[in-house]
Each structure stands twice: as structure tokens, then as C-alpha cells.
């Protein structure tokens, strides 16, 4: 059960006020935390609970479905303990920025550039925040839900896929 997860127990003890939600689905534990404590929590997980590998860092756009539009997702793995933990934190559209995790793991450097490129979330303190997949002069952020699938300046496809 999610309540007995080693990380959830410690996090609840140390960051009582910052934990928004703990969910277990198909054996995977997801902890949603407040944005202002994110770096502190990630560093704590890395230093004290041996979550030494940042497997993935990405974002999800919940346009019109949630109060805060974006959700940052950090997927951690512990090589010594062989277990995973997913940390999520909401990011509002009006204040579309979050501190960088590249101070905790170097992996985050490119992964955050990708999120910046495709979602338009700014990472404060990032060493090299440039677009990575799209060209430097690209306008818009393709993975946002309000970005058309066919790209800008084109009639939306009216077939059954649109």
C-alpha cells in the first residue's frame, strides 16, 4: 500500500504541510507536492533515501481539466533499492515557472530544456535554457493542448482523427 512505501512514510514525517496527495495505481506510487518545496523534497529523496537516478522529467498539460494547468512529473529510481517513485507538482499557467532540478541531477538539464521547448515552462536557475528539439526561432509550444496537431497556419484536419 502507498501509505507503507518507505519514501511516503519519510516524506509525510518531514514535509507534512507540502504533501498534497498520495496515490497508488497499478503498484506505482505517486506523490503530489507543493511547488515551493519541490527542490527541497527532490534533494532529500536523493541524499537520504537513495533515489539516485532521475529516470525521467516531463510535464502534462491539463488545459480546462484542472485548476492549475500544468503538472510537472519527476520519475525517480533508486539503483540500490530497485524501486521507483513518482513526484508531481502543479504549475499554474499565470506563473509558468519552477526552480530547476539540474542542481540535483545533471540529467535534468536536457529534459528541462525539452519541457521548456514543448510546454513553455521556464526553469529558474537553469544553466542553458534553450529550445532543444524545435528550432530557436519557433513560435509556440507544440505539446500544449491548444497547439494544433497540424501545426500553425493550417486548416485543422476534419477527419475522424481530429
Amino acid at each position: 500500500m502507498a501509505e507503507n512505501n518507505r519514501a511516503v512514510l519519510k516524506l509525510k514525517e518531514k514535509f507534512t504541510t507540502s504533501i498534497i496527495d498520495v496515490v497508488e495505481f497499478r503498484g506505482e506510487v505517486t506523490v503530489t507536492v507543493a511547488k515551493d518545496a519541490i527542490i527541497e523534497i527532490l534533494s532529500f529523496l536523493k541524499q537520504s533515501l537513495q533515489y539516485n537516478l532521475l529516470t525521467d522529467l516531463t510535464a502534462v498539460d491539463y488545459l480546462g481539466k484542472k485548476e492549475e494547468r500544468f503538472m510537472m512529473v519527476y520519475l525517480l529510481y533508486s539503483i540500490p533499492n530497485k524501486d521507483r517513485l513518482r513526484i508531481k507538482t502543479p504549475v499554474a499557467e499565470v506563473d509558468c515557472r519552477i526552480p530547476t532540478a539540474s542542481t540535483v541531477w545533471k540529467t535534468a538539464n536536457w529534459l528541462e530544456r525539452e519541457v521548456y521547448d514543448l510546454f513553455g515552462i521556464t526553469f529558474d536557475g537553469h544553466p542553458d535554457l534553450r529550445r532543444i528539439l524545435m528550432t530557436d526561432d519557433w513560435v509556440g509550444h507544440p505539446l500544449r493542448k491548444d497547439y494544433p496537431l497540424q501545426g500553425p497556419d493550417r486548416e485543422p484536419y476534419k477527419g475522424r482523427l481530429s
Binding site: 539516485n52 529516470t55 502534462v60 512529473v73 539503483i79 540529467t107 538539464n109 528539439l133 505539446l143 482523427l161
Partner: protein, 390 residues
């Protein structure tokens, strides 16, 4: 006194040893690399965006175009993520065939790696030999799926169809001959003084740095980290197989080369065990809400045809939730993260590409070495741009 200044040199995107459309902007002090700035995205096709507009079955053909040198591994990662989301149990025969194909794919991918890596460093014979063996794997692909590269053979809940009779013999013969071929490659390379000069001590990265940068797969094991998802977080029934996980010591290109060669031998052993296990039985789960009906029902009964039409057009509705499934692809940890809002299309599909993360290490591994060694570093990282740019 004479002063020197650094020179900026552009390498790629059209360069034979950047393995695709990778562009590197190098800052050089004579022949010594001072700074490497990779530019990627030339092959960006927006697979993650496309996936949000496709049903779960329709996404599958997009996935084998990611790492086109190991299509079945991509299919497997995606299929396992969907099966986890839908909580579908897969029949044993389907699982076993999946493992055979995943390991053959590992062989195929490593053969291309070995061929190109050796060619980049100047050993042309190995290139020709390794592509000869790869051809057999491609023929096996063609035998079971009809396509040589974009196989699209797995389905949610099992396989698209059972394998033909010749399959077992073909794979068995290949696995029997492979160790001999591997000896041949090793005879050409492992003690070859030129090979040793180019690889020993090249591209050194310590275990701590490698984990910090997020390197996974054989590149991480070459740095001495004993971690393999197939053994440590088994999926698709890998816990029923015995195999060794090779680990390097010196964190250099030569150790990564040795790790991958042992991995190829172990892959042969896994395939052999899987062939011994292979029993007749169904290859698709009995789960009509999710799976396609067998083809003979589609052709011979109206219910089967309606069923097929419904699954093909509308797909199935996934429960609300999110899952992540990582698999040990030939190049490292390949992960699929699916977020479902209860619809028949994912709200978000994220691909965790091993090559993308591994490529980040290029600066760490090549700064301070000669420009010719950069080619060896690109080879040893074993990147494929289809997966990096998605």
C-alpha cells in the same frame, strides 16, 4: 610570443560517423576538444503529440519508428505500458515469443552498433560480417511480421498472429551459429593493437558521473554499475530466465565494448531457454474489450467482423490513472509513461528515450581528448537519432 586561439568546427548533421542527423559544434584547441555543443531535433516528428490523437492500438506503429534499429523493443515497452494500464494478462506463449524477439532485437541492435563503431574506428571487415548476421534477424522479422524493420508485430494482449512453423528452426540455427560469429568478431578486435589504442582509456566516465547524467543500459554497466531492468525489475516473465549481467571496470570504451559482446552471448542463451519453453497455446489474451479478435473470426463471422471494426475504429477506454513501464532496450532504459483521463486516447504519452539521455554525456566523455576520439565516443554511446528526436 605567438598566441593561439580556439577554432569552431561544425560536425554534421550530414556526417557518416554521427549516426544520423546529429550536429555537433566543436570548439577546438588545435586537435584537442575544448567544448562540444550537440544540436538535435532534425528528425523531430512529434510522436508524443500524435499519440494524443490516436487510439491505443493506433499508437503502436508509431513506436517502432523511434529506435528503428530495435523496433521490437520499442513495441514491447509500449505494449507493456498499455497492458499495465488495462491490467491485461498475456498468455505464456505470447510472452515467450516476445522475449525471443526482444533478445533477437538486442542482438540486431548490438550488431549494428558493433559494425558502425568498428567502421568508424577503421575496422571495415567487422562491419561487413556483422551486417551479414543482422540480415538473418531481419529475415526472421520478415518471416513473422512481413516487414524487415517496422515490425508492428505485438498487440495489446499478445501478438498479432502466431509464428509460422519454420520460425523455431530458423531462430535455433541462428542462435547456434552466433557464438562462433562472436568469436570471429572478437578475434578481429579484442586483441587488435589498433582497436586497443583507439578504445582503451577513451571516453572515461565514472559510475557516479554516469548515474548523475542518467546514463542507462550497457553504457552504465561499462562504468561498473551492476543494474539491469530485466533482472532487477523483471517484466514480461524475464524472472524465469537465467542470464548473467556483465559489468565493466575501467569505465572506458573498451569495457563498454566487452559488456555489449557478453550481452550478445547472454541474449543467445536467453533465446535458447525461451525456445525450450515454447509450448503450443493461445497468443492473444481472452479479453474482447481490449484485444482484436482472431483473424479467422473476422473473416468468417459477422460478430467477429463487428468486433474487429469496433476495436479498430473506436478502440477501448482505459481507466483513469497513470502508469510508467521501463524496459531494458538495447541502448538503455526505454520507458513509456501513459496518462489516461478515462478516454480511448491517452491524455499524454511520454517516451523516455535512452539515447537522448545518454547523449548528454558526450561533453563529459570527450572534452580534453582529440577530435578523432570523439568519433569513438559517439560510437560507444550507441545513439540512434530517431529515438532522440522522436
Amino acid at each position: 610570443m605567438a598566441t593561439t586561439e580556439t577554432m569552431t568546427l561544425n560536425m554534421g548533421p550530414q556526417h557518416p560517423s554521427t549516426h544520423g542527423v546529429l550536429r555537433l559544434v566543436l570548439e577546438l584547441d588545435g586537435e584537442v576538444i575544448v567544448k562540444v555543443t550537440p544540436h538535435i531535433g532534425f528528425l523531430h516528428r512529434g510522436v508524443e503529440k500524435l499519440a494524443e490523437h490516436r487510439t491505443y492500438h493506433q499508437i503502436l506503429p508509431l513506436t517502432d519508428r523511434l529506435d528503428y534499429l530495435a523496433p521490437m523493443s520499442n513495441n514491447l515497452g509500449y505494449i507493456l505500458a498499455v497492458e499495465k494500464l488495462m491490467a491485461v494478462e498475456v498468455p505464456e506463449r505470447a510472452e515467450t515469443i516476445r522475449i525471443i524477439m526482444a533478445e533477437l532485437t538486442r542482438l540486431e541492435s548490438h550488431l549494428v552498433w558493433l559494425a558502425c563503431h568498428a567502421l568508424d574506428i577503421g575496422a571495415m571487415t567487422v562491419f561487413i560480417y556483422a551486417f551479414r548476421e543482422r540480415e538473418t534477424v531481419m529475415e526472421t522479422y520478415e518471416l513473422i511480421s512481413g516487414a524487415r524493420m517496422t515490425s508492428n508485430f505485438f498487440r495489446v494482449g499478445g501478438l498479432s498472429q502466431d509464428v509460422p512453423e519454420e520460425f523455431v528452426k530458423k531462430v535455433s540455427d541462428f542462435i547456434d551459429s552466433m557464438p562462433g560469429y562472436l568469436d570471429q568478431y572478437e578475434g578481429l578486435l579484442t586483441t587488435n593493437p589498433i582497436w586497443l589504442k583507439r578504445t582503451v582509456g577513451n571516453g572515461v566516465i565514472s559510475a557516479d558521473d554516469a548515474i548523475d547524467i542518467g546514463i542507462t543500459g550497457p553504457a552504465l554497466r561499462g562504468s561498473g554499475v551492476d543494474w539491469d531492468l530485466r533482472r532487477d525489475n523483471p517484466y514480461s516473465g524475464y524472472d524465469k530466465y537465467q542470464f548473467k549481467v556483465p559489468v565493466g571496470e575501467n569505465c572506458d570504451t573498451f569495457d563498454r565494448y566487452k559488456v555489449r559482446l557478453v550481452e550478445m552471448r547472454e541474449a543467445c542463451k536467453i533465446v535458447r531457454q525461451a525456445l525450450d519453453k515454447l509450448k503450443p497455446g493461445p497468443v492473444l489474451a481472452d479479453c474482447p474489450q481490449v484485444c482484436y479478435p482472431p483473424k479467422e473470426n473476422v473473416y468468417n463471422s459477422i460478430e467477429g467482423l463487428i468486433h474487429h471494426f469496433k476495436i479498430a475504429s473506436e478502440g477501448f477506454y482505459a481507466p483513469e490513472g497513470e502508469v510508467y513501464q521501463g524496459v531494458e532496450a538495447p541502448k538503455g532504459e526505454l520507458g513509456f509513461y501513459l496518462v489516461s483521463d478515462g478516454g480511448n486516447k491517452p491524455e499524454r504519452m511520454r517516451i523516455r528515450p535512452p539515447s537522448f539521455v545518454n547523449l548528454q554525456a558526450i561533453e563529459k566523455m570527450s572534452v580534453g581528448s582529440m577530435i578523432a576520439d570523439l568519433v569513438a565516443v559517439i560510437g560507444t554511446l550507441d545513439i540512434v537519432l530517431g529515438e532522440i528526436d522522436r
